[in-house]
Assembly symmetry: D2
Homo-oligomer: 144 residues x 4
């Protein structure tokens, strides 16, 4: 998102590479949150709602976790250990939700879009997790 | 956001024009939420934090309201009266937060970015409010 | 909630009467949020889910708005005009959601509990709205 | 909270013991969320705000994670693996935030209340984590 890029551009806390990975991950979390929310809502008007019960439920869990992750990530002055745990949780729920959405992707376009958003978000969380340790070591925060 | 555009493209509920206004408003709410969150976080490491107390507080209120608005808007199958009230609330808090951020825009780039995000979000909410009545009249939802 | 009462007891910002109204309203918002969330989840396993589509949808809108309202209220150092707008929005969505849940109260106990939580929350929001103007006049915040 | 107890009383999904542990954990998460929110807000008007920067920041992370955890837990029809990860994340952030709040407990009553809420929430999350495996084995959900 443009606003995140603008903010990170003016932030000397992180290296350019890390700022890019972070920015992409925030974007992926927010996209996944909205895709899950919209997918759940669209499922609620489908004639075959009976088959979509688990999909709706996972959508709701996934969007709550993605929303919390995006908030933590856009509060980027310190990197604490709970951020790592949150990213792992987020990757996990995206995997579950994406797998369920994938099963309905052929019949419902909103499930296809949501499955893609989940997979992308899972990948970005895992990518950021790999980039984190370096950052924690170098002590990125003045207050940490 | 791309995901929202993709989802709305496959949704026959709304006219193309309305879908565009809706998509832009969701995007503005999410951008404003993240800008407020990042601004509050950046304020928390500024040497002149004493002058930024009210800014941080309004950031927090604004981000909570923007987040709720984005969720309601991306659940778009029905347009209920509380959506109108929520959009008015959102426009109001964006106006207050934007005004406060504007006062610090010269000294803090994050406040400048946030002030712009607030103004944009306020405008989009007001624009959507104007487009809503037509939609409510035509009865956009199968379950309404 | 005990934690809210403890915090307000140590807060000299507000009169005892106002602190009680505020505390009850926060409690009502949080209870309504959880009741809506649990009701939506319970609806998702009901055999007659087809009749509960609108109920689930209103549950989701209502819980998002109640959650934002509780956050704003427990951030109580200043009373800004957007708080008033948020309380009105909250009362309105509680009225809609409560009305829908009431229709299923005879067949589903979770809808009965949720309808009661919505009505209680609506009443508390309206009660707090009546108590607000006095407070805004007396200027409760050092930073306002 | 009364509403959660009422809802769980009518839910045959779980054993009485598990329902009680679950109910207490939801209550602890919501209390911690509100305590963190109120603590951050109170810190924002303290004369020694300079020393409370990290406290405010951890309050914000902690409340976002507690809020997401409470939502997942009150959506209790299925127990998925991401719930376990979320509980671990929640226990971790509560430990960090509680530790920071404890350092200011002597000077600020709101930090004392928040430190207690964090410790209680951490304990409840860990308690629920121990009770979970049994539940996952017995397959508590019709859709799982």
């Amino acid at each position: 998102m443009q606003v995140i890029e603008e903010l990170l551009a003016n932030d000397k806390t992180h290296s350019v590479t890390f700022a890019e990975i972070l920015s992409q991950c925030i974007d992926a979390c927010v996209s996944c949150e909205l895709a899950c929310n919209a997918c759940a809502d669209a499922c609620l008007v489908e004639p075959d709602i009976d088959k979509l019960r688990r999909c709706i439920r996972l959508n709701l869990d996934c969007l709550d976790i993605c929303a919390a992750t995006a908030r933590l990530l856009s509060r980027r002055q310190t990197v604490d250990r709970h951020l790592q745990a949150q990213l792992e949780t987020c990757a996990r729920v995206c995997a579950s939700c994406g797998e369920e959405c994938r099963r309905h992707a052929a019949s419902h376009e909103h499930c296809r879009v949501c499955a893609d958003a989940c997979r992308w978000c899972e990948q970005q969380c895992r990518g950021l997790l790999k980039a984190l340790p370096e950052m924690v070591e170098t002590g990125s925060s003045p207050q940490a």
